[in-house]
Every structure is written in C-alpha cells, then in structure tokens.
C-alpha cells in the first residue's frame, strides 16, 4: 500500500522532472509557433543532449561544462539539419500536417538507430553537477541536482521571455507566429525564422536532456517517452503558449509523481497518457487556452 509520508519528497522530485517536461514542451511550441508544424523528433534532441555530453565527458575527458556546451551547440546544429533535410523539402511541396508528423517521427527513429549503432544499447549516466550533501527541510531531502534543474529551467525560461520581448529576432519570430504572410510582407525572412526555431527548440531539448541525465540515465531509446511528456505539457498548458507549456510540465510532473506513489512506477507512462487523453477530450485548448 502507498506510504503517504513520502508525499512531500515525491512532490519535490515531480517538480524537478516537471521542469524538464516543461522545457521540452516549450521546444514544441517554439517550432509550432514559427511554422504550424508539430516536430515529433523533439525526443531525439533530449536524448542526444545527454548522450553527447556523456560521450565527450567520459570518453574524451572534456570538463563537464565544456562537454555540455558543445553538446547543446551540436544538437542545435542537428535541429537546423533536420529542418533543411526533412522539413524544408516537404514544406516546399506543401505536404499535409500528417505527412510532416510522420516524416519527423521517422527522423526520430533514424537518429535513435544511428545512436544505437554509435554507442551501443547500454544505459549511461552523468555525475551530478555539484557533489554536495542534500539540503534537509524537515524530513524532505533536496538534492543539489534538483536545484540545478529548477534553477537552470527558470533561468532558461527568463532568458526566453527576454529574447521574445526585447530582441529584434525574438519579435520577428513572434510576428511569424501571429501571421506568417503578414510577417513576410513586413520583410521578415520567414524561412530563416523556421531554421532558427528548429535550432532554438533543439537547444532547449538538449539542455533538458543534460539537466535530467544525472538523476536517471540516458540510452538511445529514452527520447520518445520524453517527447510525449513534453507534448502533453504543451497540450495541458494550451498549445502554442511557451509559458503555458512550462506550467503544464510542472503539473504533469507532479501528477506523475503522485501516480507512482499510488499505482507503482510501472504505470507512470499510462498515467501521463491518461492526463493527455483527459485534456484532449475535456479541454483540448489547455489550461490557458490555445494560442490563436
């Protein structure tokens, strides 16, 4: 039977993973807003973020911060490559939304398999960023990695908010999400914004993957579950609203943590998917209402 005294501890860990889901959810929204495309290869970015960092750190002996930065840059470049190789040709042929989903899902599988061939199927992990004893608040232990995840996510969200509100490029991307034709008429290079959205979204996914890897593990096939959780976060928050997605991620993380206490860890994916179906059936526009 469930032991209720664990609840505060469980909620803390739910909040941590929720931040990660939120970052992935924002990644979905950034691409969707720039293009109307739902990129199902989002999970590959998360997996590669952790995997490339781990490879550079353990196999090539780079310091962790350098390895992490290099991984984020590499994954962002991969995001642009996917946009050029897979999405752009379909976009130019005016492919349907469904074909786009299928093509990005296929890209996810291709990246997964290439990773499997490159590094094998053994799960890998990273050390925690700072090896200090956990903070104790009452009976609740708060690990330093949790602080890194929450602090890092909040910093990223703040930076994104500043980027969209203050910079010319950020404003141009917002203009694209409001009306692409009108944005093009204003002289905004819409197709360059699409490539930029993929780079940004891939970098967000990679950061999420790097933050979470020390608390669990990474393997070639962790991407799809993360992508689905991120997508659920985006739906729960109201699709196309980046900050709604972060909120949705926190909510999903907490609900999943509670579900693990009540039903056991095996059903955590089922719990997350049930949250998705519930929202789709009852309030598909999410907590904040869908953008547009």
């Amino acid at each position: 039977m469930a032991d209720w005294s664990y609840i505060p501890q469980v909620l803390v860990s739910g909040l941590g993973i929720g931040c990660v889901y939120g970052l992935i959810g924002i990644g979905f929204c950034v691409i969707y807003n720039a293009s109307g495309i739902v990129n199902f290869a989002q999970g590959a970015f998360v997996m590669l973020g952790g995997m490339i960092t781990q490879t550079l750190f353990s196999r090539h002996g780079l310091p962790l911060p350098v390895a992490a930065l290099a991984a984020v840059a590499a994954v962002a470049a991969l995001g642009v490559a996917i946009e050029r190789i897979v999405v752009r040709p379909l976009w130019n042929r005016k492919a349907t939304m469904f074909v786009m989903i299928l093509a990005t899902l296929a890209a996810q599988i291709v990246i997964e398999r290439l990773t499997l061939i490159a590094v094998g199927d053994q799960p890998k992990t990273l050390p925690v960023f700072t090896d200090l004893p956990p903070l104790m608040i009452g009976s609740v232990a708060i690990g330093t990695q949790f602080l890194w995840i929450v602090g890092g996510s909040l910093a990223i969200v703040a930076l994104l908010a500043a980027f969209f509100a203050l910079t010319r490029t950020g404003k141009a991307m917002r203009a694209c999400s409001i009306n692409r034709e009108a944005a093009a008429l204003q002289g905004i290079p819409v197709s360059r914004m699409l490539a930029l959205a993929f780079a940004l979204s891939a970098a967000l996914g990679a950061i999420a993957g790097i933050l979470i890897t020390p608390t669990q593990y990474t393997a070639f096939n962790v991407g799809v579950p993360f992508a689905i959780s991120g997508f659920i976060a985006a739906i729960v928050g109201g699709f196309g609203r980046p900050f709604g997605a972060f909120l949705g991620g926190l909510l999903l993380g907490l609900m999943q943590a509670l579900a693990i206490v009540v039903f056991g860890a095996g059903l955590k994916t089922v719990a997350a998917l049930s949250v998705l179906l519930l929202f789709l059936f009852i309030r598909p526009s999410g907590i904040l209402g869908a953008a547009k």
Binding site: A95, M97, L102, A106, I228, V270, L273, L280, F281, P284
Partner: protein, 321 residues
C-alpha cells in the same frame, strides 16, 4: 478523379492490364513461396499478416484521410485475447479469434467516440497515446500477459478439424485472407460507404453539406480498420505460436506506415504490394539487423518527399488526371 471520357478503348484495355500488374507480382511472390516453402514461406507469411493490418489502416487513412498512430493497440487486443484464451484457457483458436476481434472493435468504439472528434495533431497524438497505453498494459499486466516474457505454446489455427500447421498450409490460408481483405476493400471503395468516405477525405465541410453524417462514417471506418488490425494480431499469434509486447510496439507503427506509403496510400493493391516489398527487401541484407529500422525510417522520409503516392499509384488505372 476518373478517366476522361475521351480516352479510346485500346487505351482503356492497356490501363486495365497495367492495373493487373501488382496482383500478378503478388501472386508470383506468394506462388514462389508456396513452391519453395521453408524460410521463404515464413517471410512471405509475415508479409501477408502485415498486409491484413495495412489494408485496415488504408481504409481509415487512405480512403477516409484520417490519422491513427494507434492501430497497433487493436492488433495487440486481437493477438492477446487469442493467445490468452487458447494457451491459458484451452479455447480453440477460431472462437478466440472471433472474441478478440469483437473485443477490439468494441474497444475501438469506446475509444473512437471521443477521439475522432479531435483533429490534426491532436488526433495524431491522441491515437499515438492509445497505442502506447496498450503497449504499457501488455508489459505491466503480468498476471495475464506475462510481461516481457510473452506467451508461448499458442496452438495453430484449425478449420473444421483440420489443423493449419505446415508452412504451406498457413501460407495458403493467409493468401486467402489477404485476397478476401483486398476484395472487401475494393467493394467498399465502390460502395455508397466508400464514396461517402472519399467525400469526407476531400472536405469534411462539403461532405456535411451533402448530407453525409461525417462523424458516423469516420467511426465506421475506424471500427473496420480496428477489425482488420485485430484479425492481423490474432493471425500473427496463431502462425508464430508466440506473442510478446514488442510484437505490437512502436516498431510496428513505423513498419506499417512505410508499407502503406511504399505501396501507395488510398489504392486497393497498395497495402499488399507495400507489405511484400518492405518485408522482402531487408531479407536480402539480413546481416545488418541493426540497420533495419534505420533503413525503414530513411526510406519513409525519402518516399514522403519524392513519391508521396507510392509505387502502386504508378500502376493505378484510377486517380490519374
């Protein structure tokens, strides 16, 4: 689009002959497998089981232009009901198969009612979620499904006291099922139901304006598709004699979509041709097992970009302008 009336009769005859080519190809492959038997028969049997599944997928996605990434859930229901009832409870295969299909169609009705109101990427993600939930349940519900271990010792199908257990017997049976499925698909396409589906595919608003009950026809196509999926799942467990969650996982989704697109979405011969080609090609370079899903994924991307209407559309007498 139909052939314009100005076309002359020799042209029409030529077109009809071209339309027969995919069937001749399929007949030749199956005939060869029956003659040779052994490993070739096994490979072609799998292809035919997939063809049943893809035929159902094509009804929903090709004819009605809807999206479902979760049809593997219904294959899992059909397969596991058959497996559990025959291997653990001593049922004979045919009633177990019938019950599995009924259960899958019932599940599809319950799931489809709320799900099919969704559109676009909501529908795509909702159905993907259903497929993943089914997968998780087959892994976690160990008292019934035995988790990753899977269920073995499932008896082969028997018809009127005759057990279909030889490679060739199974192949003949599967070929008959696939032919029946293709015949049904061809009949459906030309029926009132099929025309309603293609109206829905063209424009839901226009179909509604013509007095077509869009929601009802979508649900019917979904149920039919689920029935085909369950039949394929059940055939799989009886032919192989073993089932595990991996059989109906995400791999199945990618492989069957590749088949549908290779063969040609929305055509009658497409599912069979796609299933045969996609199953046979990897056999020619089996040594690279790790590269198979990689090849499927890459092939799918290339097809979507360069040949979105598939190979069967090259032979189709319909759908050309």
């Amino acid at each position: 689009m139909t052939i314009s009336p100005s076309i002359t009769s020799p042209d029409r005859r030529r077109l009809r002959l071209v339309g027969l080519l995919p069937w001749l190809f399929a007949g030749a492959v199956v005939g060869y497998a029956i003659l040779v038997g052994g490993y070739a028969a096994t490979v072609v049997s799998f292809a035919l089981i997939y063809a049943v599944f893809v035929t159902g997928l094509n009804l929903f996605m090709g004819f009605a232009a809807q999206v479902s990434f979760g049809q593997n859930a219904f294959a899992a229901i059909g397969g596991y009901v058959s497996a559990v009832l025959t291997a653990s409870h001593g049922w004979s295969p045919l009633p177990a198969m019938a019950l599995g299909m009924t259960a899958a169609v019932l599940a599809a009705a319950i799931i489809g009612f709320p799900t099919l109101r969704l559109k676009g990427h909501y529908l795509a993600m909702g159905t993907l979620a259903i497929g993943l939930i089914a997968y998780e349940i087959t892994v976690e519900w160990q008292s019934v499904t035995q988790g990753y271990m899977g269920i073995s010792g499932i008896p082969p199908l028997s018809l009127a006291g005759y057990e279909v257990s030889s490679d060739r017997g199974q192949l003949v049976m599967l070929a008959l099922v696939v032919a029946g499925g293709a015949f049904a698909a061809a009949r459906i396409r030309r029926s009132r139901f099929g025309r309603a589906l293609s109206a829905v595919a063209g424009s839901e608003e226009a179909a509604q304006a013509l007095g077509i009950d869009v929601a009802r026809y979508k649900l019917m196509a979904f149920l039919l598709s689920a029935g085909f999926a369950a039949l394929a799942g059940s055939l799989f467990v009886h032919v192989v004699g073993f089932v595990s969650p991996e059989v109906f996982g995400l791999h199945m989704v990618i492989v069957t979509f590749t088949m549908l697109y290779v063969g040609g979405i929305g055509t009658v011969a497409g599912p069979l041709i796609g299933a045969l080609i996609v199953s046979l090609l990897p056999e020619t370079f089996r040594a690279f097992k790790d590269y198979q899903d990689l090849a499927y994924g890459a092939a799918l991307i290339l097809l979507l970009i360069y040949a979105p209407r598939g190979l069967a559309s090259l032979f189709s007498t319909r759908g050309r302008s």
